[in-house]
């Protein structure tokens, strides 16, 4: 077998960005799209400061999280390990982009010009590839060069015509490319002779880019399997396109949030309606409200897709993609709600609620599947999304019902308390496993969320118990608080605190053979500077 791998020698790299520029031209990427780039890390503090240049890009992971989440099967993997994107299948949902912990994927929706409105260059006109608009794009390891080279008997990594452009262009000899499965290949030899690490190894993605940092002087046999102890040290990272420290994800905007809001509130409401109907309450008109919420959410997310006319491709990958699964449930959910409402049937309402729970669970798992966003991949995000959906549903019921049964009020109270507990546990779990700025944002929103979503509803419900004559005013207000706080929570989680993984190095490179490498760095983590 063949497994293509890139080896970046951190000892040699000078951050010149020649590889970045070469990649941009070879692949005709748009301004600010960098399939390959080199980051600039600082480690330590004055006067004991280090600085490391780190080439990054798609890691062509053996276990690529992008491929797992892709709903259209556009993202695939070749037998030689190269992770691919089929531009004709991709719907441009950018789920892969938020699932990638290496920030390697880009999506641009309209042609962008180097000189903006001042004119389109002839080279831009010539190289423009409309197939790439609105879909995910990333480093291909120059697979076209590899394939055409192999077809003519050349060896990738050795013969320039069969080698990725970034490697060809590297002026310091930092970048190497070759077959990891061939023990005698150039890259296998380098990995045997030098200590190395892979980025975010703890995420078990098994990336295909290896970083050399130290010569294996006395123990060459250890070079290949040297145990790397992760040491996440605070540091500052800088950079133009993103930089080394985590930054707020830009792939999913408020329209995706609207889907989580609509889906969560709608399905939560359907659950509330179904349970109420068991106690004699009418299914109409609240079930239709639930339908409106769900459909509104789905409509909004449709506008977010880069290729909305291919949106049905979302159904292609239910084997592993929670987005496909969510989409698959959307139809039955809507049908069940309509049927339940049409026939005013508690039984059908219950069915709709069950499907709704499934839909809500898919949504929660979908967010959780965004592995590139640490606050999403935290396990408790699943229960948080589900609980807030139920709270929002109960909130809508409280808001819209003229009179509420004690059972509904009690359920609302219980759900609010459950959500508050999950929220607390969720935030506690994030400490140490999320970027500093994400934690800071969640901390900033904790007070308004807790006040609006927990304290206020509790006070209002308590007031309603004590002063039943104004309960019809207080309970809806409590419901409103529960609802809005849930929406706020999702907005914050997706659009305000969704800092990505950023980049990290386990070790600084040694700066002369034998001097030994230094400390690693994870800019933006653990109370960074």
């Amino acid at each position: 077998m063949t497994r293509w791998a890139l080896v970046a020698d951190l000892r040699a790299c000078v951050g010149c960005q020649t590889c970045t520029a070469s990649c941009k031209q070879t692949n005709a990427t748009a301004p600010d799209v960098q399939w390959r780039s080199v980051l600039d890390f600082e480690t330590g503090s004055f006067p004991d400061v280090g600085r490391v240049f780190v080439p990054v890009g798609c890691m062509h992971c053996s276990q690529p999280p992008c491929m797992e989440v892709c709903p259209s099967t556009a993202t695939g993997q070749r037998d030689d390990g190269i992770v691919t994107i089929d531009y004709d299948l991709c719907i441009g949902c950018a789920y892969c982009a938020v699932a990638c912990p290496y920030q390697a994927r880009y999506k641009i929706t309209k042609p962008s010009r180097a000189y903006g409105n001042d004119g389109m260059m002839r080279v831009e006109e010539y190289c423009e590839d409309p197939a790439r608009l609105g879909v995910a794009q990333k480093c291909t390891f120059c697979s076209d060069r590899i394939d055409s080279g192999l077809a003519t008997g050349l060896t990738p990594g050795i013969d320039p015509a069969a080698t990725p452009a970034c490697v060809n262009s590297c002026i310091s000899g930092a970048l190497h490319f070759g077959d990891r499965d061939d023990p005698e290949s150039n890259v296998s030899t380098l990995l045997r002779e030098n200590h190395h690490f892979r980025m975010h190894e703890e995420m078990t993605t098994e990336p295909g880019i290896y970083y050399l940092w130290e010569k294996a002087l006395d123990r060459p046999e250890e070079g290949n399997d040297i145990a790397i102890k992760p040491q996440k040290l605070a540091s500052r990272g800088v950079g133009g396109v993103g930089g080394a420290a985590p930054w707020l994800q830009q792939h999913w905007d408020w329209r995706v949030t609207a889907n989580f809001i609509g889906g969560g509130t709608g399905t939560g409401l359907m659950v509330a309606v179904a349970i109420s109907s068991l106690f004699g309450a009418a299914v109409m008109p609240l079930a239709m409200f639930a339908l409106v919420f769900v459909l509104a959410g789905l409509t909004m997310v449709l506008t977010e897709l880069g290729r909305p006319f291919r949106s049905m491709n979302v159904l292609f990958h239910p084997q592993t993609s929670w987005m496909s699964r969510e989409a698959l449930l959307a139809g039955p959910l809507c049908v069940a709600i309509v049927a339940a409402a049409w026939l005013d049937s508690p039984l059908l309402a219950l069915l709709a609620a069950l499907i709704g729970m499934g839909f809500l669970y898919c949504q929660a798992r979908m967010l959780h599947g965004g592995k590139g966003i640490p606050i999403w991949r935290e396990n408790m995000s699943v229960s948080l999304i589900i609980s807030t959906g139920l709270v929002e549903g109960a909130g809508v019921m409280a808001l819209t019902s003229a009179s509420l049964s004690p059972g509904v009020v009690g359920a609302l109270l219980a759900l609010i308390l459950l959500r508050a507990w999950i929220w607390h546990s969720y935030r506690r779990n994030l400490v140490g496993s999320s970027p500093d700025r994400a934690i800071a944002v969640l901390r900033r929103y904790n007070t308004p969320f807790t006040v609006i979503g927990t304290i206020l509803p509790l006070v209002l419900v308590a007031g309603g118990f004590m002063l039943p004559e104004i309960g019809h005013i207080l309970y809806p207000l409590a419901g409103l608080g529960a609802l809005l706080s849930g929406w706020l929570l999702k907005y914050v989680m997706i659009n305000r605190a969704a800092y990505n993984q950023g980049y990290a190095i386990e070790h600084s490179p040694e700066r002369s053979a034998g001097s030994g490498g230094g400390q690693g760095a994870a800019p933006g983590w653990n109370d960074a500077l």
Partner: protein, 913 residues
């Protein structure tokens, strides 16, 4: 080079010489007549030291070719008022109108006389980029050669942006226009601010990367942690402009803290002037008859001429010289009888007793133990006594070297640093030997293409040097050009490069103020500007802009509108890098670290067709020559070699008919044939077609030519160190000349002609100059502001290339002012805040970039920005040091250069939302 895909795809070979670290070879992929990609030239892997690769700047050439902001037709100014605030009102004109207008001006100049009433050339020309424009201007040098006197002394960066002291003293001491380590053999390099990883080009970067991985150690001594510091084993954050003290202390450690045997005594005795005896008046003690310097011979125990066969020179003893003379300035001779005296080496030892590491530590802000440790490491890695065989010749191996960066090796203190670095190399026998400290090329000595050929002995047993005369009879008392290079700077010699290496800012300064007893300053009647933008790239840029706006007629070869051509009268759009045709010499040894084992020629050829309204520089030069009646002289100049290669030789003759105007292709075809003939002694005469297909033509050269030591050894010549007797004499003579004409404003500079450098408070020179000239309290300006080169931009003139801007921002420091995070916290400044930086001269503003890797008392602005006319670049809002550095005589050293640093204050303006 043939098609290789269903689309019409070609790979066209050419060269990149955008920065001084080139030229390098590349190919451009052209698909359906569109240049799409820059690629390495892997065909040149065997001959090019960096395997046929080019750096990021070359990749910007695609956008440079297709930039929508290009000027694509000649233009003339319609608004007679010039200035930053004036709209030039450029309108398109035909080439005929443009060239006729210029030719008319030029003919008037010839009618009026080539020099004006002050004796200055009426025609001036400025080029940028450390000489690189020559590789793009085709036969324009032949036009200037045909023209006659031209003032090329209006600087656009020279002196303050270059390695100026190194250029001049390097050429004097070891034919080193620039200096570098023999990196492939080096084991230990101390780099004082040299930023080779950013400015060393592909060859420099590759050599140092290989050295690191091989195990070579590099210590980076500089106030901020540069790219090069990042890739070094250790960063020593030294106070700005105190490097000389560090180096002096290293000399002290070697001389006073270690036994003499640790030094390379053989080298010191026989390859330096250390044994030369010094008389009471500070000059060599000489044999009264031969006038040769005397040394003390251990065999005969008496003073003898240095070149007496079979002697064993003594470095340290009590010398009693029976009879000798000293040659003072202006031919004055002092006679001595039974005179007690000291050797140069003893003078050195005594002089450096005071410069201890403890003394230096207080000046440099670096612990004494660090200085001592580095000096000891330097000594230990020197491997004194070891040898290596290079191509059959056994030479000393000294794998240690010291590099000096910009701001360290120019301006006040530059001489001290250059001297100390070279002296440290001599003490361990590491000058111009394998592994050691090497020169790269010559620009002042002649011939231009051989360092070795200029190694000719003087009567004193040292290398001859084309010093500008300072004696009464021959001194160039009336400046030939406005920067008075030959009048004021003996060291600057008289080569085609000398004007650009004079005190180039004096040409600008004197436009505003006439120094005492000096010819009246005049403006050039016509000023050509090619590939340079002094309004951005020089110092005190606001005043440069004002001066340029007064020039009567400026012709700018223009790529886009920019800040200098904003003041132009005519814009001439030339073919750019990928569109023009030119042959140039490549290979050999060249700055910054180009050490080839081949030499030859490479062709720059049109990769794609140039826009209709643009013209090849050689066509423009020919047309100017034709329209000004200079065609014959122009063709003669080309035949002579003004375009890079002489068209005739011993066994070949491709001379052009001098009476005819030749096409661009005819000129370069003849050049190609002559180049091939030169390389093969006339055996081969490949023409333009061959070079178009192959790109270059090379022949092997000996690695021994990397080193100067063999030439000195063969001729028994010594390096002129430690004692600067010759300079000392020239300094005294120059003082006599200037004082006899009532000129005292150069007195401060005259003090620098010390035979042995003496520490002066260099940071204090800056502080006092600012206080004196601006009537300020220096305490109000607590930070040193520095600049640093960027690999993406350095020398490239490419601020208007979007892709370069984009990728450069991946590297910290671009786009704002870098300051220490801790210091910023003290001042309440956060990353990204808008801050105002003020020097006593001017203010600018920009984004604060907080880093740990910079001294708390230092700020840094990378590159050269502050554009206000150049498309795209004018939107950057990136602050530039150039606006803040005042142009002062007090900050000008004896070589005519200064350093781009200044004291500043910082003020928080606002935190962006």
């Amino acid at each position: 080079m043939g098609n290789d895909s269903p689309t019409n795809t070609r790979h066209v070979s050419t060269y990149c010489y955008q920065c001084v670290a080139g030229p390098d070879l590349l190919t451009v992929k052209v698909e359906d007549d569109v240049a799409t990609q820059v690629e390495p030239n892997f065909a040149a892997e065997e001959v090019h030291p960096a395997s046929g690769k080019v750096c990021v700047k070359a990749y910007g050439l695609i956008q440079k070719t297709y930039n929508p902001h290009r000027v694509k037709t000649p233009m003339k100014r319609t608004n007679p008022d010039k200035g930053k605030d004036q709209d030039p009102g450029f309108v398109a004109i035909s080439w005929d109108e443009a060239l006729d207008t210029i030719a008319e001006r030029l003919e008037k100049i010839r009618g009026d006389g080539l020099r004006d009433e002050s004796g200055y050339p009426r025609l001036a020309a400025s080029f940028g980029g450390g000489g690189t424009p020559t590789s793009y201007m085709g036969t324009f040098p032949a036009f200037l050669g045909a023209w006659g006197p031209t003032d090329m002394g209006f600087g656009s960066g020279q002196g303050v942006k270059c390695y100026h002291s190194e250029h001049l003293y390097g050429e004097l001491w070891h034919r080193a226009f620039t200096v570098c380590p023999d990196t492939p053999l080096s084991e230990y390099i101390i780099s004082f601010g040299a930023n080779v990883e950013a400015s060393g080009g592909v060859c420099g970067v590759k050599r140092h990367a290989d050295a690191r991985i091989r195990g070579a150690r590099r210590i980076q001594v500089e106030p901020h942690l540069s790219i090069t510091g990042a890739c070094s084993e250790e960063w020593v954050p030294i106070k700005p402009k105190t490097d000389a003290a560090f180096l002096f202390a290293m000399i002290h450690v070697l001389l006073h803290e270690h036994p003499r045997e640790k030094l390379d005594l053989e080298f010191i005795k026989h390859r330096t002037t250390s044994p030369y005896l010094i008389g009471n008046f500070g000059f060599f003690m000489r044999d009264p008859e031969s006038r040769k310097p005397l040394v003390w011979d251990a065999n005969t125990n008496k003073a003898v001429a240095f070149d007496t066969p079979g002697i064993d020179p003594v470095l340290e003893a009590a010398f009693l010289v029976e009879k000798a003379v000293e040659e003072d300035a202006d031919g004055k001779v002092w006679e001595h009888f039974d005179q007690r005296c000291f050797s140069s080496f003893e003078k050195l030892v005594a002089h450096f007793k005071q410069y201890t590491p403890l003394w230096a530590s207080k000046i440099c802000g670096v612990p004494a133990e660090t200085i001592r440790r580095i000096a000891i490491d330097y000594l230990q890695h020197a491997r004194v006594g070891e040898t290596i065989e290079i191509e059959g010749r056994r030479l000393p191996l000294r794998p240690v070297a010291i590099m000096l960066g910009k701001t360290v090796n120019n301006g006040w203190g530059g001489f001290d640093c250059c001297w100390a670095r070279t002296m440290l190399a001599c003490l361990i026998g590491g000058l111009e030997v394998p592994g050691g400290t090497l020169g790269t090329t010559v620009r002042l000595n002649r011939p231009a293409n051989s360092r070795q050929a200029s190694v000719i002995s003087t009567r004193d047993g040292i290398m001859d040097y084309p010093m500008n005369p300072t004696d009464e009879e021959n001194w160039v008392s009336r400046p030939e050009v406005r920067n008075a290079n030959r009048t004021l700077v003996p060291l600057v010699a008289n080569s085609p490069w000398s004007q650009a290496l004079g005190p180039t800012h004096l040409a600008w300064m004197m436009q505003d103020q006439t120094p005492q007893n000096w010819p009246k300053p005049t403006m050039p009647d016509l000023w050509f500007v090619y590939r340079t933008n002094p309004v951005i790239s020089f110092w005190d840029t606001d005043s440069i802009a004002k001066t340029i706006s007064r020039f009567p007629f400026t012709v700018c070869f223009s790529y886009t509108h920019d800040e200098t051509n904003h003041m132009a009268d005519i814009l001439l759009p030339e073919c750019t890098d990928l569109e023009g045709l030119q042959l140039m010499r490549i290979g050999g040894t060249k700055y910054v670290e180009q050490f080839w084992k081949h030499q030859g020629f490479a062709l720059r050829q049109p990769v794609v067709k140039a826009p209709d309204g643009t013209r090849d520089m050689s066509w423009i030069a020919t047309e100017l020559a034709r329209r000004t009646g200079l065609l014959e002289a122009y063709n003669k100049a080309i035949n002579r070699g003004a375009a890079g290669v002489s068209l005739s030789g011993d066994n070949f003759d491709f001379n052009l008919d001098e009476t005819k105007a030749h096409s661009v292709e005819e000129i370069w075809d003849a050049s190609c044939r002559a180049a091939s003939a030169e390389l093969t002694n006339g055996e081969e005469t490949q023409g333009l077609d061959y070079y178009r297909e192959h790109g270059y033509r090379m022949t092997p050269m000996s690695q021994l030519d990397w080193y100067l030591y063999p030439s000195l050894e063969d001729q028994n010549i010594r390096f002129e160190l430690p004692y600067q007797e010759r300079l000392h004499r020239h300094g005294k003579e120059l003082a006599n000349r200037l004082h006899s004409r009532g000129i005292s404003w150069w007195d401060h500079q005259l003090e620098e002609y010390d035979p042995l450098p003496e520490w002066k408070d260099y940071p204090g020179i800056w502080e006092q100059a600012l206080e004196k000239n601006f009537n300020i309290d220096i305490k109000d300006y607590p930070f040193w502001l520095l600049t640093s080169r960027s690999m993406q931009y350095a020398w490239g003139g490419n601020a208007d290339i979007q892709m370069i801007r984009e990728v450069s921002r991946n590297i910290g420091g671009h786009g704002g002012v870098v300051m220490n995070s801790g210091k910023a916290a003290e001042l309440g400044i956060e990353d990204g805040d808008l801050v105002e930086i003020s020097s006593p001269l001017a203010s600018t503003s920009g984004m604060a970039i907080l880093r740990q890797g910079i001294r708390p008392d230092t700020l840094l602005m990378i590159g050269q920005f502050g554009h206000w006319a150049t498309p795209l670049a004018k939107t950057f809002n990136t602050p530039s040091i150039n606006k803040l550095v005042p142009m002062l005589l007090d900050l000008t050293d004896s070589s005519g250069s200064s350093s781009d640093l200044v004291k500043v204050s910082i003020k928080h303006i606002r935190t962006p939302s």
